[in-house]
């Protein structure tokens, strides 16, 4: 199966190389797939299975466990409005209603232009800043309806620094050779870790 672009395939191989067991790279690769396509396609899961040596069904099992891996197309911006206690008390319900009428979609769906997906979400650990929401998992605090409209305008005009849905970070981790602990499967570790030794490994 070819889903990944050449560039991403090389990256995928590199990511797999970081783990003692290829399977451990499954979740990072799912992120990579979501980054490439905005969501995780069936082809992506099949290729990930091939890359890490499992069946597509196992990849699906893992992928579908996580809410944040989308297995259907979503907008360029996924807006999650927190609907849990603190936010609810501070007006999340009204905010959601407003968002639905502003975007003209029901919570859980995507605007026809493919720009926005609106979702209700559980607590986003920003209860002191209620009501809050996330755009592609970037927080917005104490959001009023006006601020919401402003946000949507900015996003629509690309006048902002929120990357497309699927991009977790714009900085990719790179472990320099000399800082890498090396990938050794647990069963092959024969010596005690340095911090166990008397002199702390120095």
């Amino acid at each position: 199966m070819t889903f990944f672009t050449d560039e991403n395939l090389a990256l995928a191989e590199e990511i797999i190389g970081r783990y003692p067991k290829p399977r451990s790279a499954m979740i990072p690769l799912l992120h990579l797939a979501q980054e490439q396509e905005g969501w995780v396609t069936d082809d992506a899961m099949t290729q990930i299975g091939e890359l890490v040596g499992t069946t597509s069904a196992e990849v699906l099992g893992t992928c579908s466990f996580y809410e944040m891996f989308k297995r259907h197309p979503v907008g360029k911006y996924v807006i999650n409005i927190c609907t849990t206690m603190s936010c609810a008390l501070m007006g999340a319900g009204d905010l959601m209603k407003h968002a639905e009428s502003r975007l003209n979609v029901k919570s859980g769906s995507t605007t026809p232009d493919g720009l926005f997906t609106l979702e209700g979400a559980e607590c986003q650990a920003a209860c002191t800043e209620a009501p809050c929401l996330q755009v592609n998992y970037r927080h917005q605090y104490r959001v009023t309806t006006d601020q919401f409209d402003e946000l949507i305008d900015e996003l629509a005009l690309s006048d902002h620094d929120v990357p497309d849905h699927g991009v977790l970070s714009q900085i990719r981790q790179h472990i320099p050779e000399d800082r890498s602990v090396g990938a050794v499967p647990p069963e092959d570790v024969k010596v005690a870790p340095v911090w166990f030794s008397e002199d702390g490994g120095s």
């Binding site: 899961m45 069946t55 069904a57 099992g61």
Partner: protein, 811 residues
């Protein structure tokens, strides 16, 4: 935990002290002590996962009683357990109330109703009433997750048995828990069905009716079922099963857990091919060739069919009669035929194998190993067929030993196999050169050489390819005997009761009880009166003789040489040139359709007796239903023919036959009828004795490939055009149509794109086939399954050649 660390501990369960082994789970210890703790997810053949919490019991390890899942808690010294405390009962009621929150309770239309652990345990331990009044979860009612298994997600209680089985035991993790929380459900990947060879086991172990088997759905209710314990004879593994019928029709086989053989598992072929027994295509009355129209068979009565058969045998005389087949038979039937051939006809031209097995001498004479020996050995050396395809449950046992135990599986062969995924090493050799590769390995400084010579070794030896003669396998045996004298063998001959048939002397030069014809026991000589002096012909030689016009009457004893003998041209020629072909069979196979006299025999499930598996273990086959039409047991046919030829086998019942076997067959001495009828037969009675001293011939060198052709490799697939598969409506379509596989570079060299139809040419035939490029095929070789529906490899094979080459050309 290594074996030495296991100690005995004492645990108090419900006030009684029981002995247990440290490390074992409390639920298992309680089981052995006869205390049943309810459970859904725990299964003694799989790892514990603690998914369902039904097994919560009060456990006190010195800190006061606490509810703990007994399938996850290892026993420890002094543990005090109460499985009936108030807390336990409350927990059980609570868990069941929870499980039933989402369960549809559609028992009246559920296959499992009546034998359902959820039903039974709710009745025994449940709260009686639910407080849940809300709407239940709804899913599309059964969805097929494979051709054989349907899934009703509403009924699933998420015990993880099916998914655990698929991953841990079968090694086909094609079903998974997907989603989470309240939406968790078992599913396959879209468009990737649960097409495991072992899928039927999940239906058997599902503790609810979430998984149902297509061949059994809505066929019967458990309370209408009658059952008998028996042994699967589809292949020679001899898995123990329960044969179940309703209204005199076989409706289901279930796996029975036998420690020494199948651990309760069955392959789907063995599990579902009961459909063939019920087939409308069964032969139910005798037929003879129409004297006026040679192309037609006419129905007749037994009297005349037997009379003409006897006449044909008499006319031919002992030298010109041949008997091919017998591995479909029970031991008793095989004995009767063996005796009939030698003592009445006076011929030794008998062979239960169809030229695709190994010399009887090897099967009976190599130092034997058991399946358990293999699963405990340091190394299992597999030089033979793809076990996953040919002896599916042996593959499962080995996989278990390799993945959970400490056994290392090493394979030497020219093709990839289903064991590659768990083998420590899969050594690729040239076709037919395993012996050479092995001896090179043993004299090298490869650590594997030391592992093999220092540790225990069980060799699974068989024909790596039907397109090569027996020589390579014989050569391998010779190398192993010389260089690894401590190795023992499981000989991978696969057909039904082939082992028992050989034990009963259905092989040229051998008599019942693993003795040579030159060395009959005194009691045998006394009973049989006449024994041919010289060894007769094997299947290959019989067919050659027949083709040369030297066989006048050929008896096919449940054999279909046109489909099963490696060389179809020779078989066809032989059948055509033989004056009278008598076929004793269940179905009109392609060979039977060519016969002159057809005698219908009873089938599996319609006859009782014993069978012998690959390791020499005798177990029971049971009669469950009455046979259709005027079919007769094979032994009765032998007796009838004997009378008509003026002889008397002096055998009047299966019991009678067994008593005689016990007397005359030295290897079976002491295995009395009483023992065979006793509970000892649950595990089966292992016969390992043999008086055969092996004299292995010096093997010939394998001819060198000419660089022009591709060396043909051929083995069987689990799903192929085997008669019982073809006659089972649910299985028939599972066999893929044949395609010849070649390495992409070889195809490129020939300028042929993958997936096109090509002309395949051998010294024997020219046929059109689809060619597929496959990286896993060694360069210079071509793989064609032996017996797929359509063009089988038997058209291309010359049985007299050590190896067979083919050429591929564009059309």
């Amino acid at each position: 935990m290594s074996e030495q660390d296991v100690t005995e501990v004492t645990v108090t369960v419900n006030g009684t002290e029981i002995e247990a082994q440290s490390g074992e789970m409390l639920i298992a210890a309680a089981d052995r002590a006869g205390v049943h703790i309810p459970r859904f997810c725990y299964h003694e053949r799989m790892s514990s996962v603690g998914m369902c919490r039904m097994c919560l019991v009060d456990v006190d390890t010195g800190r006061g009683p606490m509810l703990q899942p007994s399938c996850m808690v290892p026993v420890s010294e002094g543990m005090i357990v109460d499985t009936e405390s108030d807390d336990t009962k409350r927990a059980q009621e609570g868990i069941l109330e929870f499980l039933l929150v989402n369960h549809p309770l559609d028992c009246p239309v559920c296959d499992k109703g009546g034998e359902c652990p959820l039903q039974d345990q709710t009745l025994a331990y449940g709260p009686g009433e639910s407080r849940f009044i809300e709407e239940k979860r709804h899913y599309e009612k059964p969805i097929p997750i494979s051709d054989l298994v349907h899934l009703d997600r509403e009924r699933c209680i998420l015990c993880d048995r099916c998914t655990r089985f698929a991953d841990e035991i079968a090694g086909d993790p094609l079903i998974q828990f997907t989603e989470r929380g309240n939406s968790t459900q078992v599913l396959t990947f879209p468009d990737e069905p649960f097409s495991s060879y072992f899928s039927g086991n999940t239906v058997q172990i599902c503790p609810v009716g979430a998984l149902t088997a297509a061949p059994y759905r809505f066929k019967a209710r458990p309370w209408d079922l009658e059952e008998n314990e028996s042994t699967c004879t589809t292949c020679s593994m001899g898995c123990r099963i329960s044969v179940q019928s309703s209204r005199n029709e076989l409706v289901r086989y279930l796996g029975v857990d036998v420690e020494s053989v199948n651990h309760g598992w069955l392959c789907d072929k063995g599990r579902f091919n009961f459909e063939a027994v019920n087939s409308d295509e069964r032969l139910t009355s005798p037929f003879v060739r129409d004297p006026d129209n040679q192309r037609q068979l006419l129905g007749t009565d037994w009297g005349s069919a037997l009379a003409s058969s006897a006449e044909a045998i008499r006319r031919a005389g002992p030298q010109k009669v041949g008997i091919i087949g017998g591995s479909r038979l029970t031991n008793e039937d095989a004995y009767a035929w063996s005796k009939f051939a030698r003592s009445v006809i006076g011929t030794d031209n008998v062979d239960a194998q169809l030229g695709d097995g190994l010399p009887a001498e090897l099967v009976l004479g190599l130092p034997p190993a058991t399946i358990a020996d293999a699963c405990e050995a340091d190394t299992v050396l597999v030089i033979g067929p793809d076990l996953k395809e040919e002896l599916a449950i042996l593959h499962l046992r080995l996989r278990g030993a390799a993945t959970k135990g400490r056994t290392q599986v090493v394979q030497i062969g020219a093709a990839t196999t289903g064991s590659d995924s768990y083998a420590q090493r899969s050594i690729r050799c040239q076709t037919g050169e395993a012996a050479k590769t092995l001896s090179e390995l043993l004299s090298s400084d490869d650590p594997l050489a030391k592992q093999l010579s220092d540790g225990s070794v069980v060799v699974i030896l068989g024909r790596s390819s039907v397109a090569e003669s027996v020589d390579p396998a014989v050569a391998t045996a010779a190398v192993i005997q010389a260089e690894l004298p401590h190795a023992t063998f499981l000989v991978a001959v696969r057909r039904g009761n082939v082992r028992g048939a050989l034990d009963m002397g259905l092989a040229p030069g051998f008599l019942p009880g693993r003795t040579r014809i030159s060395n009959p026991s005194a009691s045998l000589t006394e009973k049989w009166k006449q024994i041919p002096e010289k060894s007769g012909l094997g299947t290959s030689e019989m067919l050659q003789a027949a083709a040369a016009g030297q066989i006048e009457t050929l008896i096919l004893l449940g054999a279909d040489p046109l489909s099963d003998f490696p060389d179809r041209n020779l078989a066809a020629d032989a059948i055509q040139k033989t004056k009278t072909v008598i076929a004793i069979d269940n179905f009109a196979t392609s060979s039977v359709a060519q016969a002159d006299i057809v005698l219908p025999a009873t089938a599996y499930g319609e006859q009782s007796g014993t069978t012998t598996n690959i390791e020499g273990r005798i177990s029971r086959v049971a009669q469950k239903i009455t046979s259709p039409g005027s079919t007769r047991d094979d032994w009765m046919i032998a007796t009838e023919l004997a009378w008509r030829l003026g002889g008397d086998l002096e055998l009047t019942s299966k019991e009678d036959i067994w008593r005689e076997i016990e007397q005359v067959a030295p290897s079976h001495a002491g295995i009395t009828l009483e023992r065979v009828q006793s509970s000892e037969m649950f595990e089966g009675i292992l016969v390992q004795q043999s008086s055969i001293d092996l004299a292995l011939p010096v093997p010939k060198d394998t001819p060198v490939a000419d660089g022009y052709g591709l060396r043909l490799i051929s083995g069987r697939k689990l799903w192929d055009a085997a008669t019982t598969t073809e006659q089972s409506p649910s299985l028939r379509h599972l066999a893929e149509s044949p395609s010849i596989k070649v390495h992409p570079n070889d195809l490129q060299r020939l300028g042929i794109p993958s997936g096109t139809e090509v002309r395949v040419i051998s010294t024997r035939a020219t046929e059109n086939l689809t060619v597929t490029a496959d990286d896993n095929v060694q360069r210079g070789t071509a793989i064609l399954p032996f017996n797929q529906p359509g063009v089988g490899a038997n058209r291309f094979i010359d049985a007299t050649a050590v190896i067979n080459d083919i050429r591929i050309e564009t059309l």
